[in-house]
């Protein structure tokens, strides 16, 4: 069973904005490796004539007409915001990471 490398775990954690302790990194390297190995089992099948699954429901073309419906009030919209100001959500300054 393949283990993930320390770097791969750190990269995935970074993408998910998770701060992991060193011992957690080791645990996840193991567990994520197991999950990937499990998913990799599908490669053992011959899927040459099988369409990739885009959705599990099997439905298509679920749409609604272009009609305006009431929105929430500004008060309702902002009520869960940890910080708000002048009708806006307020967040720490955004730093582009590239």
């Amino acid at each position: 069973m393949e283990k993930l490398s320390q770097e791969q775990v750190e990269h995935v954690a970074r993408l998910a904005r998770l701060a992991l302790r060193e011992e957690e990194k080791a645990i996840f390297a193991e567990q994520l490796g197991q999950i990937l190995a499990y998913a990799a089992k599908i490669r053992e099948l011959d899927l040459a004539n099988v369409e990739p699954t885009a959705h599990v429901l099997g439905l298509t073309n679920v749409t609604r007409p272009d009609e305006v419906r009431p929105s929430l009030s500004q008060e309702e919209v902002l009520q869960n915001g940890p910080e708000v100001q002048d009708g806006y959500f307020r967040v720490p300054r955004i730093v582009e990471e590239g």
Partner: protein, 496 residues
Amino acid sequence: MALAGNVSKGVDLSRWEIVIGLEIHVELLTDSKVFCGCATDFGGEPNTRVCPVCLGLPGSLPVLNAKALEYAVKTGLALGCEIAPFSKFDRKNYFYPDLPKAYQISQYDLPLCRHGHLDIEVNGEKRRIGITRVHLEEETGKSLHAGTSIVDSPYTLLDYNRAGIPLVEIVTEPDLRSPEEARIFLEELKRVVEFAGVSDVKMEEGSLRCDANISVRPRGETRLGTKTEVKNMNSFRAVQRALEYEAARQVAVLESGGRIEQETRHWDEAAGVTRGMRSKEQAHDYRYFPEPDLVPIVLTPEQIEKWRQELPELPAARRERLMREYGLPPYDAEILTTSRKLADFFEEAARQFPDPKMVSNWVMGELLRLLKAEGKELDQVNVTPARLVGLLQLIRAGTISGATAKEVFEEMFRTGQEAAAIVERRGLQQISDEETIRQLVQKAIAANPEAVESYRKGKEKAIGALVGQVMRETRGKANPQLVNRLLLEALGKPGQ
């Protein structure tokens, strides 16, 4: 090529080929957002057009707006694309608070439209620019940065009114070969999208935006050079300027033995330069995966064909027809097709008037001049095609002179009154009655013996004083040709 900024001074671009690809975002003209029923109107108090769906609250579910799907496909059809029989949505995951869900619903590997093209004309040469893909996604919210720039602002304010407005992303092939060509392409694209009726493409309201990928390579080289992505250009003119600067910058770097960093650069309009974001080099990892909350889209050939039939005449075809049907010169056809409304206005007027070139002159001249001066759109003013025709008929019948007509047009533009009513009320009818003018001519001759004397001695220009007197007497309403003719009749040939 005009070059901006210091870095590009003295750079010789002739040995280099510029390669440009564009990525354009266009907001679609639906009443409600793409996955919820919130209104899409511009402006409004912040965070008042927001609901659990576009706020990404747990338990809410998006449902696709049928009109947004139709408009996205029509955009593709207008750009000559193949429409995918099977398409789906994907989540583009990123942590940036312009969308509250921490992902954008977009399309990744199965976009609605692919393999299109748009033909443009650059310096008399026809160029076909490939369209890689057109896909449907959701608009982001608006971030306001306190402080002077994104870098030194202590915090960011967020308004989600725009979040979830339907957006098409149009990606071109790297087929553009100059910054000017990029600008011309955008102008034509804007017309196509507007004619197709899928967007109002108001750049000042951000409903059309453009990012550019640009690289340079020595002429004759077939491999592409390292590209940079240029962002933050707020007008077509800015796109051209930014790309001119960036091409020259890249050439200067390469010619001095340096190498191009693959990076995102921001255009600084005031300084006329592009600046690197100084960001950590790290490839974006959006971890796209199929959007489980939306089911795939299957389009039948019949449905696609129906939408194709519904597309109105596009700008290139319309230009051709205006020249063919109304005998207009290419220049007129070009100007009149800058927007569908303008072309419609012209045609409606031209159908009611026997001289299409005269209609075209008035539309391109006085109408556009006043619209520009007032900063207004055609549908915000009171002039209708029928009212313009009313005015032109008065000129044609000799009721008013061309000069008076401009005055009447301005009043009509402001008040929406009929030309005839304005002329009647202000008593602007041209005096074309021979007897009346003959009397005025006699009066002018009697009152200006000196002018008459010098005219008779051969000074032809002296007649101007006499014409002037008649025009003054009639407050400019005398038919000038008639005044001239009667004066000449009364005075005889000069020198006699």
